[in-house]
Subunit: 253 residues, 8 copies
Amino acid sequence: MMEKEKIEKLLEDVKAGNISVSAALGNLRNLPYEDIGFAKLDMHRSLRSGFPEVVFCQGKTTEQIAAILTRLALNHDKIIATRATAEVADAITSRIADATYYPAARLLIVDKTGARKAPPAGDEKYILVLTGGTADIPVAEEAAITAETMGSAVERSYDVGVAGLHRLLAQRDKIMRANVLVVVAGMEGALPSIVGGLVSRPVIAVPTSIGYGANFGGLSALLAMLNSCATGVTVVNIDNGFGAGYFAHLVNR
Amino acid sequence: MMEKEKIEKLLEDVKAGNISVSAALGNLRNLPYEDIGFAKLDMHRSLRSGFPEVVFCQGKTTEQIAAILTRLALNHDKIIATRATAEVADAITSRIADATYYPAARLLIVDKTGARKAPPAGDEKYILVLTGGTADIPVAEEAAITAETMGSAVERSYDVGVAGLHRLLAQRDKIMRANVLVVVAGMEGALPSIVGGLVSRPVIAVPTSIGYGANFGGLSALLAMLNSCATGVTVVNIDNGFGAGYFAHLVNR
Amino acid sequence: MMEKEKIEKLLEDVKAGNISVSAALGNLRNLPYEDIGFAKLDMHRSLRSGFPEVVFCQGKTTEQIAAILTRLALNHDKIIATRATAEVADAITSRIADATYYPAARLLIVDKTGARKAPPAGDEKYILVLTGGTADIPVAEEAAITAETMGSAVERSYDVGVAGLHRLLAQRDKIMRANVLVVVAGMEGALPSIVGGLVSRPVIAVPTSIGYGANFGGLSALLAMLNSCATGVTVVNIDNGFGAGYFAHLVNR
Amino acid sequence: MMEKEKIEKLLEDVKAGNISVSAALGNLRNLPYEDIGFAKLDMHRSLRSGFPEVVFCQGKTTEQIAAILTRLALNHDKIIATRATAEVADAITSRIADATYYPAARLLIVDKTGARKAPPAGDEKYILVLTGGTADIPVAEEAAITAETMGSAVERSYDVGVAGLHRLLAQRDKIMRANVLVVVAGMEGALPSIVGGLVSRPVIAVPTSIGYGANFGGLSALLAMLNSCATGVTVVNIDNGFGAGYFAHLVNR
Amino acid sequence: MMEKEKIEKLLEDVKAGNISVSAALGNLRNLPYEDIGFAKLDMHRSLRSGFPEVVFCQGKTTEQIAAILTRLALNHDKIIATRATAEVADAITSRIADATYYPAARLLIVDKTGARKAPPAGDEKYILVLTGGTADIPVAEEAAITAETMGSAVERSYDVGVAGLHRLLAQRDKIMRANVLVVVAGMEGALPSIVGGLVSRPVIAVPTSIGYGANFGGLSALLAMLNSCATGVTVVNIDNGFGAGYFAHLVNR
Amino acid sequence: MMEKEKIEKLLEDVKAGNISVSAALGNLRNLPYEDIGFAKLDMHRSLRSGFPEVVFCQGKTTEQIAAILTRLALNHDKIIATRATAEVADAITSRIADATYYPAARLLIVDKTGARKAPPAGDEKYILVLTGGTADIPVAEEAAITAETMGSAVERSYDVGVAGLHRLLAQRDKIMRANVLVVVAGMEGALPSIVGGLVSRPVIAVPTSIGYGANFGGLSALLAMLNSCATGVTVVNIDNGFGAGYFAHLVNR
Amino acid sequence: MMEKEKIEKLLEDVKAGNISVSAALGNLRNLPYEDIGFAKLDMHRSLRSGFPEVVFCQGKTTEQIAAILTRLALNHDKIIATRATAEVADAITSRIADATYYPAARLLIVDKTGARKAPPAGDEKYILVLTGGTADIPVAEEAAITAETMGSAVERSYDVGVAGLHRLLAQRDKIMRANVLVVVAGMEGALPSIVGGLVSRPVIAVPTSIGYGANFGGLSALLAMLNSCATGVTVVNIDNGFGAGYFAHLVNR
Amino acid sequence: MMEKEKIEKLLEDVKAGNISVSAALGNLRNLPYEDIGFAKLDMHRSLRSGFPEVVFCQGKTTEQIAAILTRLALNHDKIIATRATAEVADAITSRIADATYYPAARLLIVDKTGARKAPPAGDEKYILVLTGGTADIPVAEEAAITAETMGSAVERSYDVGVAGLHRLLAQRDKIMRANVLVVVAGMEGALPSIVGGLVSRPVIAVPTSIGYGANFGGLSALLAMLNSCATGVTVVNIDNGFGAGYFAHLVNR
């Protein structure tokens, strides 16, 4: 039974006098999350934010992740687990039906509602995900699959970095028609500035750690994007494809 | 005469045979910007992005700013000049009608279309601008006035920082009904995480340089916001109220 | 024989004339520590600080750690070894009775006095250890077990991070009744500010290295906590659960 | 009338039926803070934390500070304003009786209850504030006066830095008898480690920005203190004497 | 008398037997520079590098600069003094004929040979200096005037930053025909990557300190340029227009 | 068939009326790059920059690199793949004839035109590559082989660091006759300053990550080279031998 | 009366029975320093280190400095006050005879023993102080005057930076004969590596903050010197001429 | 045959007329180093600095190291190879007699002259090497063995860190009698300040990378030591035991 139905049931019981107001209050107090010791599962989030708990796998043991996902899967139709290793994926997909693993994006998605959103058809609003290079694709896919899982149509244009401008300009139509843009780039992180100068729609810049030397783990791209002289650009953490895809969906829907 | 009209005129001339295709091409090539030596005024932007050139005053001489704004004012109804000092403001407001200076926000706005957008009425979509403290207000006002100038309705909730949570929670209604949120905070920069956890709308986080010591000019707030564990949060540069207000309007409209 | 008894014996010998003052002085000079070449074991610490030597295992060879702990165990009832690997733990637990290894917390505890302190009963003063997420638990356990070994009662509330505020607020009673609070968080490190705003008891903030990208190994959480706008918050090193638990016990006892 | 009395009055009115529960709820909702536009004055804090609002002056205009302090002074017996410039102090002391300015410490204290706490008498528990050098005294005084205003007895030992160890060791009695210690040092920030090795009471380390070159604005002392090999040491922000004094009082009382 | 003539004279004296070999050796040892106590004037440089001593004014007193330039002017036809303040310029131009001050570029040039190089005529090889914005012009002028003083023809294209790509692309002819390019940009420093992708000639990137917040004094542009994904780009220090102009001339001649 | 020939063929077809102008335009639009999904191969670059696509292998899968190189090899005579691991090299050399792997330099070169450029003969212009130490040789070889592949003659002088100046000065002839110099050094990165002071030709400085401790991954050498007091020095990214060799060839040819 | 005499007097009193051992112990305990409230004057240092207290003026008020120096001057023949401003110097030289101010070096020296050490005569051992540029001279003078005040003979060679190697090599004799060398340089900080490669005597490197941009306040020179590939080089803080001169004297005497 | 003898032989040949001056000059020009392609072996160093070439193994292949050491061993009695791995040591000790490997210190020493220097006897001048903790010993041994190999007598006092001051003070005699002191410490790096305050002899501080979190690879100890308020302290690179031992010997001899 979904959480929303639980709450409706409770409120009807209150109305019908089956439960006192103070007892209902007590229930509600505890309902928002389920405490399994090492984690407090936020069952209330779907009411608050329209989307189930997202699980950040890094730093958790495989056992903890399995326990968390198993419990969440009882109450939710969709769960997104980010930064999941292949080992975690093996442990989960054998236990939870409807779980799919995307190795490049390191995403583990539970989706009982069927396939994620297809590419845009006709005039459908869409998110465009661009990358500067081929090596940025895993982060871009994390963004794209997240947004598709949440229900947005997504287009992709990969390897259109600034050193070969004609490759980017050839995507001009796709770029101009996009409703929201996620621009993923490492090294000098210049792509969001170019794209931001072309469009009048929100651009979400994702710095990646691709590079070496004075790249300092993505710092060069991060600082460049924060200092973009183009208007209409905001930034997420280095390699945070998930955050960009999630935010893009909030804007796009 | 506005640029758009110029272009229409040109195209009609082409159609009427008054000008050859190649000559028209030449005109169009040069039309997009006006070259005044030390600056290339981007007259094409209003077509591209739906909004006129924005002038970043820092690092330009007062003479340069005056020349740029005077030229832009011939062709545009609205101009935003950011980081304008009082000295610059004096030089401009005496020369350009419809120019207003907002000293705290350091904004100089030229607006021939009348008053900027009023606070939201009824169910009107609005941007909510929050600050952690009183000292963050100048950056917040830069965001709010920018968005209002561009046409968005804006609500404000200032000094609702995380150390007195009841002050923030008392704004809950205003927060839950907002369409987009701009959250401005210095020091530990925690407010966007709290707000991002409450809502399911896009949150734009603005770190400020308010603080001292290990604040390192806003670095502490910037890093905190980039690492926010709340979903749906993106970040702009330290003290970049303008960028946040501009982006918020793109999402809100 | 414990060190304190040794000293008492010496002083009685002085009083009884069994040893001259200058000879006793010589003994005392050397007594405070035992020199085993690669280490000077601080036997005097229990007199000075009320607690035996703590051994920081990182950077020492397994042989060195074993030698140090074996010598300390001759004179002390309680020893705490931090950052002990599984390999070190195996080498020690086979040689020293009463040694227990806590793998997540990487603590190796020698305790001849029996079980560590139980959770608080009735109105007993206690330390509350909170974490922002599940991945912060190892550092939190290092703090909690340290404090319990030293004799403080400890409560735990894990995974109550700021992005799901209702999870934290549901702990309100436990929080308000705590005598000292240890707040462990990575990423944006905002939890201590929230907790510090709720209570009027000392809050010890522990940044963790949990995160990625612009987290820079825990720097984001560290800077955030140092810049906390809440009063009553102090900070320890990144991932230093031991230091926080030790300090919390000093305040709590 | 103090806030606490206001709330008691309200509750009595509820009990007596002078006001409905829902109306009382409304009052309470708004009571916790007073909204004066650019600031939300946290009138609830004295209930929550046992102490009135603290005002951080930096970044606020003199007018804003004056307005905030004037309102707070209506409801509170004690107010601490930190980082107050001489200009701010002049504006306030002429308007608010019982306001005293401490220029070195940059503190502006409103205290209607009379003199702050005197030095410790007899066996009275006290906080000891030490500095490495003379130049650290302003930060130390910020700590000491804060703690005294809150009600703690304070001892001072200034200029006892590690390069002249006999000066420190001569303070040994004062150090060993202290209940809590605040250790203020710039440059290499070594003093807290030495003091932490001598005592078994909590040590609060305050790095200062005193130094030059590779001091990087206090970074050297901050990092040194965070990495202290002494147990029982926690750290506050660079130059944050107020935070250290406040925390020390929480531990000491 | 120029240095070169001095040396020739010396060598002729050796040949003629007017001076012994060992004495000549001694003269040559000391000739390369003139020692005026606080400076050793490198009279040998024009032989070695084809260009006279360059004087870096920052950190020197006006008296020192005047003494150095006066001595150099006795032996050289061209001198470049960088980072010269207006005060320095006043002191020098009144004493040395043929000295010209360029306030924006902070260059003080002594040139006895006449006007610096004119813009390119016909197919003449030229250096193209571009800037991202108007605020970058002082650094660009430092580069351009340096190169012109050394004898290169220079073209300028200012304010062609990446956020308005059509402004840059309109310079395409000028860009494609340039022999060497100096690209000056602050903020995200993306312009060299774009330009480097368009041309097959050497591009010298100059980061400027224009920007604020996470710009960190030019660090963002510097890192971006060092990480440029375009081939054929090298970088000089932040705001080092002189170095870029000098290097560009070495390549161009 | 090479790209250039394709374009000539197309233009001839247009001239001959075999293809309409609009159809030719369509062809040209797509010709510049070939889209293989995860990469857009820049077939246009040889026209633009005189040299084929360079493939940065780091961050790409072996399968992606193989696919990219195989496609590029159809249309180009020379390809340079940088940062290629031995595993990548094995996969490629078995599939593409004319591919050679240089393990120390991590370069994989496809060259159908025969051997790369031999060392300089007679008065031939050459690039001189110097290193401070033996450990810098891999980066130096990356520079040297890149330049030779592009067609420049290269001389090498390795292990001539500043701590044994006579080793450097013994190379004086080779240094003075070089047309362009690439100076590779780690640790304190002083060599480019010395060399830049000796010559009047362009010096390209390459910092390496050789060192430890306060070397911070090459930061010490990078900062030293950016701050070189010698004129005529520019800098590339840490360990970027390829970039230096490429740039040196642009200057040298 | 000098401190040493005080102690001798005390010991004679003990011997003569004029004072009990325990009373003498008490005296000695307090003797080492004089407590004047805001400072503890280390009267014991001359016994311990052979030299009187050094006063670091930065961060102290003029009144504090005057009080400290006045007290010290009663008991010592030589005092060195570093980082003294002109204002401080005025206040002191009017009150203390034998006080001399060196404005460039910001040193205020009290010396009752007569002139400081003259330059070396004959074979006398000497310290050689070198600078890379003219702008480094103030730091160099701080080193030289400190060493001369302590009693070492000092030679100076200024403006012999690495970009004009012949200027340095011309000092070869002076360099090879020096007993200790202090090498002062900003920017890329390469000079100590060159000098360290020439000599077999201790080299003390002093980075200065001379430079701009990626110099980051002296960081570039500091890191370069710490990473020197020359053996026999140690480093002091940025701009710490005093520390280098003091250390050099310890080695030289 | 040793290099010195080679040179004497050459000079005698000149004197005897067996070789012309110009031929001898040519020989001398090339003699100083032997070129083996990837390295230039500095045979001249023993004349210049009194000690043979030191080989920094990190970044060199085992084959390169073997070749270098084999050649050097032909001409020198003593060679020090630093940062040698066990694999390198195996390869060398099987080929070169008189080679000894010290695994903790990672030193590989070739010494044909017999045993390194024994501990000090009687009043012999000695270097004292101290460490803060046990984990610092490898770096300390690198310093001690280097100095002993060069001919200095060395004393050791390990694990005398500042948190247990009595352990340090118990070494007081050994400390006060030392001629030079090498102080090795990680974490907060406070030990050199304490030691520097006790003695009047040169103190060489060696920061180590021992620690975690805000230690940032030894940065905390490095900055602390550079900012030491004790006089007479200089610093070497993080973990640079070799450099400290070498410098200490230069001072001590």
